[in-house]
Symmetry: C2
Subunit: 438 residues, 2 copies
């Protein structure tokens, strides 16, 4: 039996306490699997007196996570502090610079400083492992870094944010408004008090940036991601999608194009019978397409203390077994600079919903503008606006026009909408949702 | 840059030639990812003159794969010969005994000799890797051995045979008979000339035996698997399932029970809206349930040269990176003896289809036998037998009785059917298909 792997853990929130429970519950099996004991020796958190439902007896307590990270008493630092700068970054750097391994669930840190940290791991000789940072317990990082290493990946897409998926699932199932579902999600602990990071698509974008680097062998670039959140999705959009045979999902997509790697996160209409359309509630799923593998899909719990702890401990076992793979699948020096694809060239059908004043010719003007832009329509439907409507025939009476286009480019749609807006034929911002037959 | 990893490949069939193409197509990227060149140096196959559509120039040719396996010119032996005994076993043993690593796609070999080979890898110091042996390109072996190592796995179930899934998918979609779909599968190359290994469930059983060992930390025992194939499934069963909201799949299940590990492969009715019911054609899927992870599902191409080559090369990259994990997730000495669960204690609903002579009281006798066995019925439907039927009212006229039971045990159902058969109330063998709400 080899020496124990001595673990130092910083951050005793939901995930941190789950990790400690897991290490204790499965101590014997883990020793067997890892070939050596996994021994938690030290912890760090803000409040030493908080009741976390687990005993911290016998563990060395560090008020400073940076000191813990570089302590000679540990071999592997488990970073569960959160945040993208400050102490989580310093502690991670300190551990890697001291030649230790780091296991982290911190997607924000990786999306911002992943390459710097991977380089630090390379020069220090330690491991930087982060299965838990993307897709909770789903082994998507390992799949891209190891199992699918033989492939040229051409595309990946997935549902990477459980909060958004929960809200969209409930909106569809119960016909509720976005606001109601968000409030329920907050009550259930699926959404933060300030939910903007999730519902604006930023959390999914961070995760996508990490997967893109792993899949395509390029440097991380979260700022190059086109991001739209789900706050503008209305019950009317959900109902229209349903009627048309689609479901609306917040989809993260990265794909190879002639002009570079396209990365985007936005609400997408997916055919109801597609694999990802059926992923409901807080479940996550990722589809990966490669030249030899074809398509594989991985799905499972995208968040939650226990599922995330499963991923953290998987990484710790790898570490104990002495496994050393480059954090992003290749040495940092071999990662290609990220080249952003021209987003607006993306072809595909679109769902548009416009609020149109009820006056003669408005409908015709919209149809004309679409035709002038070379956009072919699959359907155009005019509905009365449900609520607070002025009397019919009055220009203040608004009607909702729902348009489904055939394949066209985003640029053509944006140009046509610009012309329509310029001529005063619509009120407020048009809703535009991409349709994909994934 | 480290020394190249020198590869020797035996077996130049579909998978073997795909592996060689992959290694050539992605040579540069693989060197980057693996940290060293992956250099194919020698091959072995039966016929040196066959045109395989790839050049073998510059490769050393071995007519004897055992000699290739132990050759000092290679570091890693790729076993793609097939079979469970004879030369594939000898060559694999020779490579492991010589301290080399082995990558294999051979589920039959592993299901029969996996533990012996894992022990040889341990003492020789090499790796025994077999991602390609189960689920084609799906990274299920890696998930169980590494990513989910922190969990106590409680159950796994999956669709592990593409041939059967293709046949069942087409029977349902087109209302065809088993025989017609099998013939089509053979024409398309999805089924062998002698299809019994696939359709009798043996291929799925071999794969299940491997997953069971990985998941539950027990010794392999393929002979303890309860196996039923799909040859008895009729168009009538498929139609009845459809009507009841189910699909019939050949499901492989392994689960922890109070009396040991239950392993079984048999046709199963799954609710149409369940994740596995939607896996169609030759796609495979595996769901894994663990105490921390909850449930993850992996799906993708379960066979085919390219998808299998993806898995083989993933293992080669691990090998080049110096990764050494115990083949079955723990050292052989830590694997527990396999303890078989009492299969017939399995509770759940059943679908039964009986051929009943058209005489007064037959129907009542069946209902009575079920009641006497304490089996509560969800529905009992009597249909005319479609073809070649004798005139009504004649005892030679057969009617088909379809029964759906509520939860009961397999023993109770078998006992009741035994009584019914004994009293001559049915003709021929009853059809019995388990229903599971997975």
């Amino acid at each position: 039996m080899d020496q124990p792997l001595r673990l130092g853990l910083a951050g005793l929130g939901t995930v941190g306490t789950s990790v400690i429970r897991l290490l204790r519950d499965h101590e014997e099996a883990l020793t067997d699997r890892a070939g050596r004991p996994l021994r938690l020796v030290a912890v760090s958190a803000r409040n030493p007196n908080k009741d976390r439902g687990i005993s911290l007896d016998g563990l060395s307590w560090h008020s400073d996570p940076v000191a813990l990270a570089s302590s000679p008493d540990i071999d592997c630092f488990i970073e569960l502090i959160g945040g993208e700068n400050g102490v989580c970054r310093e502690a991670t750097r300190a551990a890697l610079d001291a030649g230790k391994s780091v296991v982290t669930a911190n997607k924000a840190l990786l999306a911002k400083h992943g390459i710097e940290l991977a380089a630090a791991a390379e020069s220090g000789g330690g491991v930087l492992a982060f299965e838990a940072a993307v897709g909770g317990g789903i082994p998507i990082v390992k799949a891209l870094r190891e199992a699918l290493a033989g492939n040229r990946i051409t595309r990946l897409f997935g549902i990477l944010n459980g909060t958004c998926n929960y809200i969209l699932t409930r909106m569809e199932a119960e016909g509720l408004s976005f606001e109601q579902c968000l409030a329920d999600a907050q009550e259930l602990g699926y959404a933060e008090a300030d939910p903007s990071f999730d519902i604006d698509g930023l959390d999914a974008a961070h995760k996508l940036a990490i997967l893109t680097s792993l899949a395509f062998g390029v440097e991380l670039n979260k700022d190059a991601i086109f991001v739209e959140g789900i706050a503008s999705i209305t019950a009317e959009d959900i109902a229209a999608a349903e009627e048309l045979g689609y479901r609306i999902k917040l989809l993260a997509v990265a794909q190879e194009t002639d002009s570079g790697i396209e990365q985007r996160v936005h609400p997408t209409m997916l055919p109801k019978n597609s694999q990802l359309a059926r992923i409901s509630d807080v479940t996550n799923a990722v589809a990966v397409e490669g030249d030899f593998i074809g398509q594989v899909v991985l799905s499972g719990p995208g968040a939650g203390g226990d599922a995330t702890a499963s991923a953290v401990v998987g990484d710790i076992v790898d570490c104990a077994r002495g496994f050393r793979a480059p954090p992003f699948g290749r040495p940092v020096a071999s990662l290609k600079p990220y080249q952003r694809a021209r987003m607006r060239a993306h072809p595909g059908g679109y769902y548009l919903r416009l609020s149109v004043p009820d006056r003669v010719g408005a409908f015709a003007a919209i149809a004309r503008a679409m035709a002038d832009g070379g956009i072919s329509l699959d359907s155009i439907v005019q509905r009365n606006r449900p609520a607070g409507a002025a009397p019919r025939g009055n220009p203040d009476h608004l009607r909702s026009v729902t348009i489904i286009t055939h394949d066209t480019t985003e640029q053509a749609v944006r140009d046509a909408l610009g012309r329509i807006e310029g001529e005063g034929d619509i009120v407020g911002r048009p809703q535009m949702i991409r349709i994909e037959a994934l």
